[in-house]
Symmetry: C2
Subunit: 249 residues, 2 copies
DNA sequence: TAAATAGTGTCTCTTAGACAATATTAT
DNA sequence: ATAATATTGTCTAAGAGACACTATTTA
């Protein structure tokens, strides 16, 4: 940052902030979880017009001195009670008529949360209800929220293909079969168990060559004893990296 | 879109558009070209505060009833005179203090233009000068524009790796050596000629399996006769697709 | 014929995907 | 022993990367 000259200070003092018409700016949150053997997204039912009673992804206005990411995390926390989860900017939707009230530009984010960390959903000041909906069986949505969800699902699949973020959808300890189920649910097709595990190993090696980039899968030595069958090894992901905040690239 | 009920119409009539403080929204354009054996970006020198006299990427406010993409194309056309070039949304930068005047959220786009299609650069209403700068030797930039360019270069490299957009940086007819030079310049390292061409063939096949996805490389039968050496075959890309407008995923 | 650039093929290593048998636990 | 799920390896095909020689043109 260059130091402000007195010339510049003079300019800034005179600057007329109401010189241009301004759109409203919101953040909208696509919050995914895997639950009941299904990929779910959090929707709220609108209490007010426009699209009163329609379901929509949660969102809200960006505070005057609040960063976009902070606004997104605030919304996420309001809806789910969770913090510190994986979140990234998705895309900015700004068609002039996407909101019938006035010009609203929305910066969409998507987040991955573990179902069990989420507190029970509740209505809010502008939502008469909230709930988890299957991505494969959505109701009609308000605004352009179908577009946003389409885009989010594509991004989610893409992310799962070349990163290890999947563990963000699982509890800390999980079996490889549970991890595979996450992939199967997100990609909506079954996978071969041996190939899946082989690929995990390959990723493992790749990643250990670049420890700044991703997460490492680790055996805990513990087992999941459940059901009348052979117990499964429990694994965990080790964080080797500062959380990747910025969107995909 | 649901039909507006009279209840809803009543609501919309009363809706107070000045209810929330609003940030300004701009689009900023990262305009890349390959020229003089170098990757160049278009910069303008600011006529006014803040950052008076600093170089910056061109941008401007989004019109009240103008889509983000339209605003980006308008800026692009103003600066370069070109239209119908490859452009995609990059990322939205919204730190509260990124602009000392007031809250300004900017939606960054990046575009690829062919150097010879660009009309000579000229100053503008808010720029005392404009010019092409090497991405590998940038001046100090205004605002957070270094961040935006870093991000744009990463995205550009990524795009070149898995798509055929590189031809957007070339004239309609080009030799394979010229195409390879584009890759070498963007990735800033030399490539093996045989492997490069082999990969082009593989991409070709992939793409013909999915003709809705990308472009096809085609031999024209013409040759570039230039210099005292064997002439090179001229190629072109055939558009097999509606332009991909949305950002990468 | 010399200089300059164009054009081309093989080998090895790694990865992706198809595919089935054995191991361990509770009942 | 049976039911249920966990765990493991091989084969083939395709792609990535290293590597060097011949072809064609003009001066």
């Amino acid at each position: 940052m260059t130091r402000a000259s007195s010339d510049e200070q003079q300019f800034l003092a005179k600057y007329d902030v109401s010189q241009y018409e301004r759109p409203s700016v919101t953040v909208d949150m696509v919050i995914f979880t895997v639950k009941d053997n299904d990929l779910k997204v959090l929707l709220v039912q609108r209490r007010d017009h426009p699209f009163k009673d329609s379901w929509a992804i949660p969102g809200g206005f960006v505070g005057t001195s609040e960063s976009l990411e902070a606004a997104a995390r605030r919304e996420l926390e309001e809806e789910t009670g969770v913090q510190e989860v994986y979140m990234e900017q998705l895309y900015t939707f700004g068609d002039p008529d996407r909101d019938p009230r006035t010009r609203v530009i929305t910066v969409a984010y998507f987040a991955l949360v573990e179902a069990r960390q989420v507190r029970p959903l509740r209505a809010g000041s502008d939502a008469k209800a909230a709930g988890w909906f299957s991505m494969y069986d959505l109701p009609k949505l308000a605004f352009d929220h179908h577009d946003i969800l389409d885009y989010a699902l594509t991004r989610l699949r893409y992310k799962l293909e070349y990163t290890n973020v999947a563990f963000q959808l699982l509890p800390e300890l999980f079996t490889l079969t549970e991890l595979q189920r996450v992939y199967e649910i997100v990609f909506n097709r079954s996978l071969d168990k041996r190939n899946f595990r082989k690929k995990l190993n390959i990723r493992e090696l790749e990643h250990s060559l670049d420890p700044d980039k991703v997460y490492m899968l680790e055996e805990t030595g513990e087992f999941k004893m459940e059901g009348s069958h052979r117990p499964a090894r429990l694994h965990r992901f080790i964080d080797r990296v500062d959380r990747i905040v910025r969107g995909f690239i």
